[in-house]
Symmetry: C2
Subunit: 272 residues, 2 copies
């Protein structure tokens, strides 16, 4: 029997629990150490330099203090802006959410034209556009800064959220038409957005595929671990959650993203 | 002729520029040093301990590095949770926005019942309720977490924002009725909210007074400086703005709050 792998999962907040949920269903034999850098969230409105420093510190904590043998960066902003910095900061394999999202869009799209919605910082980095281009796709990206607070307010099926999403989508479709694109795929480039998936699926034009980067990333991780986990027993303490602040908010909102209780969230201090 | 006073103004972001704007119109002879701790915003979702540490570091920067002789804490969350910590951290007088807001509500209210809207952390601190109680008022507080992102999206007169505010206000009025209150005054307990003032004034019941903590705080500061500024000449470099991150966003959005250009915003580093 093999040792159960220890997978570190990192996000700026608790949105990355949607990635952890997808990982749990695909790699049930791993032990998971999740860190949310909640004292310094949101990363989405910060600069590349600051994000790289915060993310590298967080990754080092998971590897050095929590024994993570693999890291999944369950944060689109950190994956977009700091994947290199994280890879340099730790001696273990690191998987981000952007490449798997783009690969999944490639598999889904017939026209080769895809739309991406994400936070400000992710869009400004154009990381999805670059990853899609590497897959032979054309991508049009749009920042949708109101969707995260709407999810955190719990308005995941609220008429206001439908209206806000419709406004963002209309702008995106209009712009794609102006650029002569025929998009048939929408990539959810933020870990909060899977909670809006039913609302989004109803709003997009008929036939448009919706790609969830969280699921795409868990699929990519599964391929990595398929062999290793043969013969593993499911560990008893499967998930440990850590946050740099707002432990109560993490516990209160986290279960919505994880679709099961987070358990007790432990407070850790990363800076000064 | 007296020396022009140097007033340090601190916020977690750039919302506090509404306080700076109100100060400029009332104390035109002061020199202003504004610091937005944008690398670590928003404070509104963080714990008291974290907010106190961040705010104390920021206050020390304004006093030690920028020569501030007086500090105005233009941030409701920091005023609510960290005014003591800031006063301990620096050897100059410190003015927060909560007490002036409550005093202004006292002057406006006939019924003695007031409503307060603010961020999560400000509401959870119950700092406004306590300050209002000290004025002989009853206050009912409500967190309105969607209003800040709506202001930052620029949707200050948007139908979606009207709808969101109406939902929050209806909940607040329903709850105040259940508690047997007769509120006649609404306190805007967040420095982003003055940008929504026209929309808010249209939505509140007829006769309800709207109190802006930014203006109330500038009035309180003016009383402090009225004597000192007799004979001062207006300084030529009146405003210097500093931010711990996101200088571009600060410059781009800041002018909306200040109602004039911020000028070049300088990047400073406060932690490790």
């Amino acid at each position: 029997m093999n040792e159960n792998p220890v997978i570190g999962v990192f996000d700026s907040g608790f949105g990355g629990l949607t990635v952890l949920r997808a990982l749990l269903s695909r790699i049930p034999h791993a032990r998971y150490e999740f860190l949310g850098d909640t004292a310094r969230l949101p990363y989405g409105s910060k600069s590349r330099r600051t994000i790289a420093r915060y993310a590298a510190e967080s990754a080092q904590y998971l590897v050095r203090e929590r024994g993570a043998e693999y890291l999944v960066i369950a944060c689109n902003t950190a994956s977009a802006l700091a994947l290199d910095a994280i890879q340099e900061a730790v001696p273990v394999p690191v998987l981000g959410v952007i490449e798997p999202g783009a690969a999944s869009a490639r598999a889904a799209s017939q026209s080769g034209d895809v739309l991406v919605i994400a936070t400000d910082a992710t869009v400004q980095s154009h990381a999805y556009a670059a990853a899609c281009r590497a897959q032979g796709l054309r991508a049009l990206e749009k920042a949708c800064p109101l969707l995260v607070p709407l999810v955190e307010e719990g308005w995941t099926q609220h008429p206001v959220t439908e209206e806000v999403f419709r406004i963002y989508l209309d702008e995106l479709l209009r712009q794609s038409a102006e650029e002569g694109m025929s998009p048939d795929t929408l990539v959810l480039g933020c870990t909060h957005y899977p909670l809006l998936r039913p609302l989004i699926a109803k709003a997009v034009p008929a036939g448009m595929r919706v790609i969830d980067s969280a699921e795409a990333t868990a699929d990519a991780a599964m391929r990595l671990f398929a062999q290793r986990c043969n013969g593993c027993a499911a560990p008893s303490d499967q998930i440990s959650c850590f946050a740099t602040d707002s432990v109560e908010k993490f516990e209160r909102l986290g279960s919505r993203f994880l679709e099961r209780p987070t358990g007790k969230v432990h407070l850790v201090e990363l800076d000064g």
